[in-house]
C-alpha cells in the first residue's frame, strides 16, 4: 500500500499556480480550434468533399500546421519569445500593432462565423421560434453575463470534462452505426470538387498561430496543435463512417449542414449531440470575442472592460443582415485568414532575422 505522496517545493507550487492559469488559456484555445475546424469542415468542406471530408480536412489544415512549425522555427532562430516580440524586433512598435490587428481581425471573422452558425442552428436547424435577430440578442445577453475577465477560460477548462464525456457518448453512437462502405468514394465527387473544398477550407489552419501570440511555456511548442487536429479528424472520420457520401454531399444550407451531423442519431443521443454543438459554439463565440478584445488592447497593455461587450453586440447586430449573403461573404474572408497573417509573420521574421544578423 502506498502511503506517501509527491511533495512539491514552495517554488514549484507557485509555478503550478501560474501553470493553472496557462492550462485554462490553453483549453480555451483548444476548444476554439476544435469548434472552428469542425464548423469549417461540416459547413464548408463536407458539402463539397462528402466521404472524403475527414482526410480533406487534414489536407486543409496542413498549410496552417506547416506555417505554425515554420513560425516556431523562426522564433527559435531569432530567439523571440512570441510573434508580437518577433514583429517588434523586425518592425518596431508598428509590428506589434500589425500582428495584434491581424489576429483581432481573424478572431472577429471567426466570431461572426460562429454566431451565424449558432443562431442558424437554432432558427433553421432545430426550428426554434424567433427571428435570427432576437435569438442573437438572447445569445448576446447570455454572453455579456458570462464574459468576466479570466472567467471564460477557467469555465472552459472546468467544462472540458463534461463536454468530452458528451462527445464520447455521441461518438460511441456514431461508431456503433459505422459502415466501412461509407468511406467510399475516397475521392468524393472528384478532383474538381476536392479542389473547391481545399480552397474553401485552406484558411482553417490560421487558428494554430494563436498560441504563438503568447510567450512560450517550458513545454515544447511543436506538439501544441496536434490534440485539436487529432480530435477533429477522429470526429469527422466517425461522421464519415456513419453517413453515406450521397447524404453528406447534397447539403447546401448552413442549418442543414449543422443538423445533418446529428440527424440520424437516436432521439436521445441527438438531443445530447445538439446540446454539445450549441454549448461548444457558444463557448467558442465567447472565446473568440474575449481573445479579439485582448488582441485589440494588447499593444498598449490597457484593460477596457466594456470592449468585449461592444464586440458581442456588434457580432449580434450582423444577424440583422441577410444570413445567406453574410455566410457567403464570411466564407470568402475565411479563405484568406491564413494567407495574410502567414505572409505578415514570414516577412516579420525574415526582417528580424536579418536585423539580428
Amino acid at each position: 500500500m502506498k502511503t506517501t505522496s509527491t511533495v512539491h517545493s514552495p517554488e514549484e507550487r507557485l509555478a503550478q499556480r501560474e501553470l493553472g492559469e496557462r492550462l485554462a488559456l490553453r483549453s480555451q484555445w483548444r476548444l476554439l480550434a476544435c469548434v472552428s475546424i469542425l464548423r469549417t469542415a461540416v459547413t464548408r468542406i463536407m458539402p463539397l468533399a462528402g466521404a472524403a471530408t475527414w482526410w480533406m480536412t487534414l489536407v486543409c489544415l496542413l498549410p496552417g500546421l506547416v506555417l505554425y512549425w515554420l513560425a516556431c522555427l523562426g522564433l527559435r532562430i531569432t530567439k523571440a519569445a512570441s510573434l508580437p516580440e518577433g514583429a517588434r524586433l523586425a518592425l518596431g512598435k508598428a509590428g506589434v500593432w500589425l500582428v495584434c490587428a491581424l489576429a483581432a481581425v481573424a478572431l472577429a471573422v471567426d466570431a461572426l462565423s460562429t454566431i451565424t452558425a449558432l443562431i442558424t442552428l437554432f432558427t433553421e436547424g432545430i426550428g426554434t421560434q424567433g427571428t435570427q435577430w432576437t435569438l442573437a440578442l438572447a445569445a448576446a445577453g447570455l454572453l455579456l453575463f458570462a464574459l468576466n475577465g479570466e472567467a471564460l477560460a477557467r469555465g472552459v477548462y472546468f467544462l472540458r470534462v463534461p463536454l468530452l464525456a458528451l462527445l464520447g457518448a455521441v461518438l460511441l453512437e456514431l461508431v456503433s452505426g459505422a459502415r466501412l462502405d461509407h468511406l467510399f468514394p475516397v475521392l468524393g465527387d472528384g478532383v474538381s470538387s476536392l479542389w473547391a473544398a481545399f480552397q474553401a477550407g485552406a484558411g482553417a489552419g490560421w487558428m494554430f498561430l494563436l498560441p504563438l501570440l503568447q510567450a512560450p511555456t517550458k513545454e515544447s511548442r511543436w506538439r501544441e496543435p496536434l490534440p485539436p487536429v487529432g480530435l477533429c479528424i477522429v470526429v469527422l472520420l466517425c461522421l464519415n463512417l456513419a453517413l453515406p457520401h450521397e447524404l453528406l454531399s447534397n447539403q447546401n444550407a448552413l442549418g442543414d449542414c449543422l443538423v445533418l451531423t446529428v440527424a440520424h442519431l437516436p432521439a436521445f443521443v441527438r438531443l445530447l449531440a445538439l446540446c454539445l454543438w450549441i454549448a461548444a459554439l457558444f463557448l467558442a463565440l465567447g472565446s473568440s470575442v474575449s481573445l479579439c478584445a485582448g488582441q485589440l488592447l494588447a499593444p498598449n497593455g490597457r484593460r477596457v472592460v466594456w470592449l468585449p461587450g461592444v464586440l458581442v453586440l456588434a457580432a449580434a447586430a450582423t444577424q440583422l443582415l441577410d444570413i445567406r449573403e453574410l455566410w457567403t461573404q464570411l466564407g470568402a474572408l475565411e479563405r484568406w485568414l491564413l494567407a495574410v497573417p502567414g505572409v505578415g509573420a514570414g516577412v516579420s521574421l525574415l526582417l528580424c532575422w536579418r536585423k539580428r544578423k
Partner: protein
C-alpha cells in the same frame, strides 16, 4: 470635556456619571468605598460582572486596607491589593467607559490619575449544546454558543498550539461588537490574512448585529447567488478550516463562526467525511453532489423534456404523462412552478414553527397537500416525484446558504427550460459555470483547485484516504503546505 483621567476623584466621577448617563441608566452601577484612607469608587454594569468576584476580590481586600499605602504609588498599591488576574490601567475616560460597557469593573480613586479595569465578567450564557444545523453521525456533538470567550476556548481545546493566534478587535462605530480573528500562524497565507484585516478595517457601520451581516459586509461579490464564506457552528469544522490555512472570525453573540476564503467544493464537505472511512465519505459526497444536481436541474429538465423534447422520452412514460396531463387544468410549467413554490412555503413554515411541531408540519403538509392536489387533479403524480426528489436533494446540501442558492437557481433553470427547452438549460449551465469560475472568495479563485488548477489536498470531489492527504488545501500558505513529512502510516512498510 477633558479626555485624560485626572487625579481628582470628584472630577472623574462627574465625567463618568455624564458619559454613562447614570441619571437614567439604572443598571450602570457605582459603589463608593474607602481604601488606603482615600475615597474610591468602582463602576460596573449590573449583570455583566460576577458579584461574588466583585465582593471577594475587589471590595473586601480594598476595604481591609485602612492604613496609608506602603507603596509610594497608589496604583501599584491597589494592584497589589486586588487579586484579579486580568487587571489593566487606562488613562482616558473613553477607555474606561469602553471597559465598563464591555463588562469590566473600573476602579477610580482619589489621587490616582488613572482607572483600573478588572476583568471579572460573568453573565448568563447558553451552555455548550449539540449543533442545530450541522448534525453528524461520527464526531463530536458540541456546537458554539453565543459567548465569544467560550467559542475561542472551544477552538483552543482542539488546537493546542501557540501558533493559533486570536487577534481581538471591535467592529461597528456606535456600538462596537467584539470579534476575534483566528488563524494558524504557520498555515495561513499572509496575503489572505492581510485582506481579512483590510476588509475588517474598511467596514463603516454603526453596529454589526449578526455574523451573517458581517459576512455580507466582507464578501467579494455581494450580488452573486452563491455564498463566498462558510458559516459553521461546529468547533471541529472551524478547527479543520484553521488547519487548512483559512481565517476564522469569531463574533460575540454569534453561535457560528465565519471561515474564509473558501472554494465552491468546500461547501459540499461535512465533518463526517473525515471521521468516516474514506470509502463511506466518498460515497456520501457523491450522493450529496447528485442531490445538488437534482435540486438544480431536475424540475427544469422535466419541463423541458415534456414540453420541448417529448421524442427523447420513452413512449410509455410520455403516454402516461400526456394522459394525466389531459385531466389537469394547468400547463406543466405552471404546475411545476406551483409545486416548487408550495414546497418552499412548507419549508419556510416548518422552519419558523418551533421544534417537533415544525418537523410534523413539514411531513403532514407535504403528504396531505400532495395527496389532495393529485386527487383534485391539480397536478399529476409524476410531478410530485420530481419535486420531492429535487427537494430531498436540497436537504442533502450541507451548507444552508448554498442550499438556498440552489433553490433559487432551480427556479432560474426552470424558466430556461420553460422558454428554450434543454438548449436553454445547456446554455444557462455553461454561463453559470463560467460565472462560478470567475468568482473569488477573498481574492482567491472560487472554483479552484479545479479551474484554475492548483496544487492541493486531493480531498476535493472524492474523499481520498487520509494518508494521501499530505498537503493542506491550496488556500493556505504555499510555503508550508505539507502537513507531514514521511509516511503517515509509518508502521506500514508495504
Amino acid at each position: 470635556m477633558p479626555e485624560k483621567i485626572s487625579s481628582s476623584l470628584e472630577q472623574n466621577l462627574s465625567v463618568l456619571e455624564a458619559r454613562l448617563f447614570r441619571d437614567v441608566n439604572t443598571d450602570m452601577t457605582r459603589r463608593d468605598f474607602r481604601v488606603f484612607r482615600r475615597e474610591a469608587a468602582v463602576y460596573f454594569v449590573d449583570g455583566l460582572v460576577s458579584s461574588d468576584f466583585l465582593q471577594h476580590y475587589i471590595l473586601t481586600p480594598c476595604q481591609e486596607q485602612t492604613d496609608a499605602p506602603l507603596a509610594a504609588d497608589l496604583q501599584d498599591a491597589l494592584l497589589q491589593t486586588i487579586h484579579v488576574g486580568d487587571a489593566k490601567a487606562v488613562s482616558t475616560y473613553a477607555e474606561a467607559v469602553d471597559a465598563i460597557v464591555n463588562g469590566k469593573a473600573v476602579l477610580v480613586a482619589d489621587g490616582m490619575p488613572a482607572a483600573l479595569c478588572f476583568d471579572i465578567r460573568y453573565f448568563v450564557r447558553r451552555g455548550i449544546a449539540p449543533p442545530l444545523t450541522e448534525s453528524v453521525v461520527n464526531g463530536p456533538h458540541q456546537g458554539f454558543n453565543e459567548a465569544l470567550r467560550d467559542n475561542i476556548t472551544l477552538l483552543r481545546r482542539i488546537l493546542h498550539t501557540p501558533e493559533l493566534i486570536g487577534e481581538m478587535r471591535t467592529i461597528g462605530e456606535a456600538s462596537p461588537t467584539n470579534i476575534c480573528v483566528m488563524y494558524l500562524k504557520n498555515a495561513v497565507d499572509g496575503q489572505t490574512l492581510q485582506r481579512v484585516k483590510n476588509r475588517l478595517a474598511g467596514i463603516r457601520v454603526d453596529q454589526v448585529l449578526s455574523i451573517g451581516a458581517l459576512e455580507q459586509l466582507m464578501e467579494d461579490k455581494p450580488f452573486a447567488l452563491l455564498p463566498q464564506c462558510c458559516l459553521t457552528e461546529r468547533p471541529d469544522r472551524a478547527a479543520s478550516f484553521l488547519l487548512e490555512g483559512q481565517v476564522v472570525i469569531v463574533m460575540d453573540g454569534a453561535p457560528q463562526v465565519l471561515a474564509m476564503p473558501i472554494s465552491f467544493l468546500h461547501l459540499f464537505h461535512t465533518p463526517d467525511d473525515t471521521s468516516m472511512r474514506w470509502q463511506y465519505g466518498t460515497f456520501l459526497r457523491m450522493i450529496r453532489l447528485l442531490g445538488a444536481l437534482c435540486t438544480l436541474l431536475l424540475p427544469g429538465l422535466f419541463v423541458a423534456a415534456v414540453t420541448f423534447h417529448p421524442e427523447a422520452l420513452p413512449v410509455t412514460l410520455l403516454t402516461a404523462i400526456l394522459e394525466s396531463q389531459a385531466q389537469v387544468p394547468l400547463s406543466i410549467p405552471a404546475e411545476t412552478l406551483l409545486m416548487l413554490l408550495m414546497f418552499n412555503l412548507i419549508n419556510e413554515a416548518g422552519t419558523r414553527v418551533p421544534g417537533v411541531v415544525g418537523n410534523s408540519l413539514g411531513t403532514v403538509s407535504g403528504l396531505i397537500l400532495g395527496q389532495a392536489a393529485v386527487e383534485a387533479k391539480l397536478i399529476h403524480p409524476l410531478l410530485i416525484i420530481v419535486v420531492a426528489v429535487s427537494s430531498l436533494g436540497s436537504y442533502a446540501i450541507p451548507d444552508y446558504s448554498l442550499g438556498m442558492a440552489f433553490r433559487i437557481g432551480q427556479l432560474i433553470f426552470l424558466a430556461a427550460g420553460c422558454i428554450f427547452g434543454l438548449y436553454g438549460m445547456v446554455l444557462l449551465s455553461a454561463v453559470m459555470v463560467v460565472r462560478l469560475c470567475g468568482m473569488t472568495s477573498l481574492g482567491a479563485p472560487f472554483a479552484a483547485p479545479v479551474a484554475p488548477v492548483r496544487t492541493h489536498n486531493p480531498d476535493v470531489f472524492l474523499r481520498y484516504p487520509l494518508w494521501h492527504q499530505r498537503l493542506r488545501t491550496w488556500l493556505g500558505n504555499p510555503f508550508s503546505m505539507e502537513r507531514t513529512r514521511g509516511r503517515m502510516r509509518g508502521w506500514d512498510r508495504r
